[in-house]
């Protein structure tokens, strides 16, 4: 089979997952259907932008992302002498594409389990601080009577 130095192996797997994650985050938000929480047993619907929410569009976009990375590395990586044929590279590209999506899905699972999504009650939209920081939730106490 394919034998590559582990650093390169980690590198390409990382980029496949990262590309899948970026593509699915950027393009998935454009989906017409509401996302479903990947960590929910019932896959319940959640507002767009919720950490851990996935859509079919997003997953398809993720596949496209990891495919670009997989194709690039299949084209450029020097394989071993025994398995450099086109068929092997094609199989390898397919496997790497799927593996990249798995990495992105894992990120969604972790997001759903560990990240709190703050929803603005008025608009029903998920809000985030700039750069992905958590929004500060300020409790407002209504003072009654005094003016």
């Amino acid at each position: 089979m394919l034998r590559l130095s582990s650093l390169i192996s980690l590198s390409r797997r990382n980029y496949a997952a990262v590309a899948a994650d970026t593509f699915s985050s950027e393009l998935g938000i454009l989906s017409k259907t509401r996302p479903r929480l990947i960590t929910s047993l019932t896959l319940r619907e959640v507002p767009p932008g919720t950490n851990g929410g996935v859509t079919a569009t997003g997953l398809a976009a993720g596949l496209l992302g990891s495919f670009t990375v997989a194709l690039t590395s299949a084209a450029l990586l020097p394989f071993c002498a025994d398995s450099s044929g086109l068929r092997d590279r094609a199989l390898w590209t397919g496997a790497m594409t799927i593996w990249g999506l798995v990495g992105s899905a894992l990120d969604s699972v972790l997001g759903g389990l560990l990240q709190a999504s703050v929803v603005d009650k008025r608009s029903g939209k998920v809000v985030e601080g700039s750069g992905g920081r958590k929004v500060r939730i300020i409790f407002i106490f209504l003072t009654l009577g005094q003016n």
Binding site: Y15, T72, S73
Partner: protein
Amino acid sequence: MKPIISVPVVVALVYRAWSHKSLTPLGLGVAAVTAVVHALHPWSTPLALLAVFYFGGSRVTKVRTTYLEAADRGLQDTSIH
């Protein structure tokens, strides 16, 4: 990778990020260091993957912002409040 190829490539990547103002100064610095590290490997693969990811990611971000801006504008034009 051979410096004769990798140096122009890294410079081009950093310049593109800088000219598009898509990264903060710190981000730009970190990105430049990352690109250099990727160029150190004898194979072209690491730097190529970085470039593919960078351009692909930039492209889809542009698609998203363009689409959402158009949608927002559409809503603002047609809503009567």
